[in-house]
Amino acid sequence: MQVNRTKQIGNYLLLSVIAIILMVPLLLGISLSLSSSSSISQGNLFPQKLVFSNYVRVFTDTHMAQFLLHSLIVSGVVMIGQLVLSILAAYAFVFLDFKFKKTAFVIFLSTMMLPFESQIIPNFNLMRDLNLLNTYSAMALPFLASAFGTFMIKTSFEQLPPELKQLSQIEGLSHFQFITKVVMPYCKISLITFALYSFLTNWNMYLWPLISTDNDKVRTAQIGLRQMRAQDTASNWGLIMAATIIVVIPTMLIIFFGQKYFKNGLTSGVIK
């Protein structure tokens, strides 16, 4: 009992320290975003007086609103694309019979071992040759097929009781009806988890959007943030922090509200 108690205190202590380390930059950002520039230039880490003008100026003085819209479009398209393609691919791997199924899946999965950075140059060449640089397509296309998504959704499809497949066969459901009426509702949690994961990953993507674009026509919020530091606003830390907080908000919301899905969805394939 005593040992457990000490262990528990130790655990909480460790977790608290990690939490503080992780929270400090965020809290500092929030604090600075609410301070006036004069207060920051005097070296104050906390606002003398709460000002919200930084948040207003993000939308009036910078192109952040546009960047956010671009991000929303790209992430949305990729999320839907990944979801649809992963569902279809996983369906084939789980419910259809064809030759070399296992081999095909292994090859499919092995693409996960190639880091995206190593694919950047061929991808860039392809997009350039297709004349797609500086378009949404260039930013979304390379990510539409997701080996991880297929793997995760396949694992969840495998949990479907075989009887539901048999029932659907007796009732004469088509493949499409079986997917939409039986498989998808049954595996809802995994699908939502993957959709959220997919959205977040793309929302936070930096390198590829930067490389595949050379003007602001379709650039995303992450690049917008980087630009703010390079431009004349560079010294305006309050403004930069306000913009950063705005960009982080979707991540925070998804993690906060999606936590239960992440917890169930990502582990559901493991238990049982």
Partner: protein, 357 residues
Amino acid sequence: MSIKLKHIKKTYDNGEEVLKDINTEIEDGQFYVLVGASGSGKSTILNAIAGFIPINDGTIEIDGRDVTNLPPKDRHLAMVFQNYALMPNLTVSENIIFGLKARHVDKEVQQERLNEVLQTVHLTEYKDKRPTNLSGGQRQRVSLARALVSDAKVILMDEPLSNLDAKLRAEMRREIRALQQHLGLTVVYVTHDQTEAMTMGDQVMLLNQGRIEQIGAPLDLYNAPANTYVADFFGSPAINLLDGQLMGNRLQFVNGVEITFNHELAGPVRIGVRPESVRLTPQGAFRGRITHIEPLGDGTNISVEIGAAEPFRLKVSDQLNLRTGNEIAFDILPDQMMLFDADDRLVGLGPINELAV
């Protein structure tokens, strides 16, 4: 609707023969039970009838129509599964009309049939609940209702009661049987439970390792088992199988007891004695020490060490004031003996001769 299975063979890709020449005819309105231990092939037969798995040889006819190569949806049957196979995101009603919706049956007809079957299975007040809020028995009723609503005349049931507790199982046994008789359904019922096979079936097929051991009415299988496997499968406690030797008109049991016994056979035999086919009497030819005793209230199960390979199982309908270690003597009722040859096949039944020591 009748079902005919002709020379059904099924071999897995790894060469394992799961069905070896299955032949039978299931009559219209019959409750047909496929029973056997796990791996006997009973579920494989059901899956073959449903069309979930292709068979390697033979034909399946439903209502005179060869359906061997038809997909499941064209075989006009319904199925009830062991784990209910209900959609957790749909209500009871939605689950029941799931198939009707997929077949685009008229909405009004759907509602009409839904209300009908809800009453049949006594679930009207639960129609808007979700399966997770129902008990196991209620879930199986939903599954049953879904099979009934389709209007299919053949219903396949794959161990539908295995997930229920004992009391509920007995209740559902009666309910399913009554429903089947009332609606005149043809039911093919898979189970590993001998009680379900005995109490529900009109006709029972006992399978063992992909072969048919025997087909017949439940009591025929009990009273005249074709071989020792069938004899051993039905009945609880299990039948006693004693080794013996036939010599002229004498039958000598393995423990030395000898009786007069006329049979053309000579040599080693096995004698089957049901636990209840005995009479306790102090003058009994068989005697020994009680190794185990189970008072059941309405009777008593006793195991007695009689010098055979294993203790002799007795089942009497009295409460006995006996305990482990006591001596007990009994006689075998001669007209209920079964005689099996060296190959374990039934060769004789009942009063072959007077039992006399």
